[in-house]
C-alpha cells in the first residue's frame, strides 16, 4: 500500500517540506503491520529502521532483571520510535511493543541519512524532535522525584485523555503503573481516591474525567 503524502506531511520530521520533497521522500518509506503484543524493537539490540506510527499505539519500555516494566513513552499516530539508535548509532535503549493492531511506516537508517543530506531542513526538524524527547524525559524524572502517586496518576490521565472517544490509547492499570513508576495496587488506590474526590468517574471500562480543572490541580499542572 502506498504511503500517503498527507501522513508524511504531518510528521514532525518532515514539517515544512513541499510536495515535491515529500514525493521524493516517499520512495524510501515502507509499510509494516503488527498485531497486539508483537515486539517491534528489542532493548539492547541494534536497530536500523526508524518507525512512524501510522495507526494504533506502541509502547516503548524497559524491563528490569526481575521482570518489572517501566514504560517510557506511549507512541501515538504521527509519532516515531527507534530515533536514538538510528540517529546516534548503538543499540535500542528500550523495547517497543504494539498495544493493539498497528500500521507503521519505516525508513532505513541509510535512507534517512540520505534524506537529511539532501534536505538540510529535515536535520533541523530532527533536532526539534530530539529536543522534545529530552523534555519528555526530564518531565518523567521530575514526576518520579517530586510528585506523589495520586498526582502522577492525575497527570497521566490528563495526558492520555482523548476528546474523541475511541481514538486514545487504552491502558490497563498495570500499564498505567509501568508508566508512572509505581505498583498496580497504588494505581487502583489512586483511582479510587480521585473518584472519591469527584474528579473522575469509573464507568466499567472507561475512566471519565468529570472535573478537569480539579484534576489539573491535583496533578500540579498549571
Amino acid at each position: 500500500m502506498t504511503v500517503q503524502l498527507e501522513f508524511l506531511k504531518g510528521l514532525p520530521y518532515f514539517a515544512g517540506l513541499d510536495e515535491a520533497a515529500l514525493v521524493s521522500i516517499r520512495r524510501y518509506v515502507f509499510e509494516k503491520k503488527a498485531e497486539r503484543g508483537e515486539t517491534l524493537a528489542f532493548e539492547g539490540e541494534p536497530s536500523d529502521v526508524l518507525f512512524f506510527v501510522s495507526s494504533g499505539v506502541v509502547k516503548a519500555f524497559k524491563t528490569s532483571a526481575d521482570g518489572k516494566e517501566q514504560i517510557f513513552r506511549i507512541v501515538r499516530p504521527g509519532e516515531s520510535f527507534n530515533d536514538v539508535p538510528v540517529l546516534g548509532g548503538g543499540v535500542n535503549l528500550v523495547s517497543a511493543e504494539a498495544m493493539g493492531p498497528v500500521v507503521l511506516n519505516g525508513i532505513k537508517k541509510k535512507d534517512l541519512e540520505t534524506i537529511v543530506r539532501e534536505r538540510p531542513p529535515v536535520g533541523l526538524n530532527v533536532i526539534q524532535v530530539l529536543s522534545r524527547r529530552v523534555q519528555e524525559l526530564v518531565a518523567l524524572v521530575e514526576d518520579f522525584s517530586f510528585r506523589h502517586v495520586t498526582s502522577r496518576v492525575a497527570k497521566m490521565l490528563l495526558e492520555y485523555a482523548d476528546r474523541k472517544a475511541g481514538d486514545g490509547p487504552r491502558l490497563t492499570q498495570q500499564e498505567m503503573a509501568a508508566m508512572i513508576g509505581t505498583a498496580r495496587e497504588m494505581v487502583g488506590r489512586s483511582l479510587k481516591n480521585l473518584e472519591s474526590a469527584g474528579t473522575i468517574r469509573m464507568e466499567r471500562n472507561r475512566i471519565v474525567i468529570a472535573d478537569r480543572q480539579a484534576l489539573r490541580e491535583m496533578a500540579g499542572v498549571t
Partner: protein, 72 residues
Amino acid sequence: MNEKPVIDQEKCQGCGLCVDICTCGALALAGDVVELCAADKCGWCTLCELVCPYGAISCPFEIVVEDEGSPH
C-alpha cells in the same frame, strides 16, 4: 457493553485463578484455556487481570473527558 477483557490464549495456562476470583461469573475454563463465557456479566473489576500470573488477561481503560468545553 461491546468492550471485553482481552484474553491471550497463548499465554493462558488454564490455572483457573481468574475463574475463581471473578465475582461476575463472566469467565469459564474451556479445556486448557479460559474464555469469556458471559461478556455481558463482566463488571470490569479487573480482578482477573490482577490475579493472572501469566499476564494473559488485560482489562484496558479508555480515558475520556466529560467536561471538555465547560467554563473553568
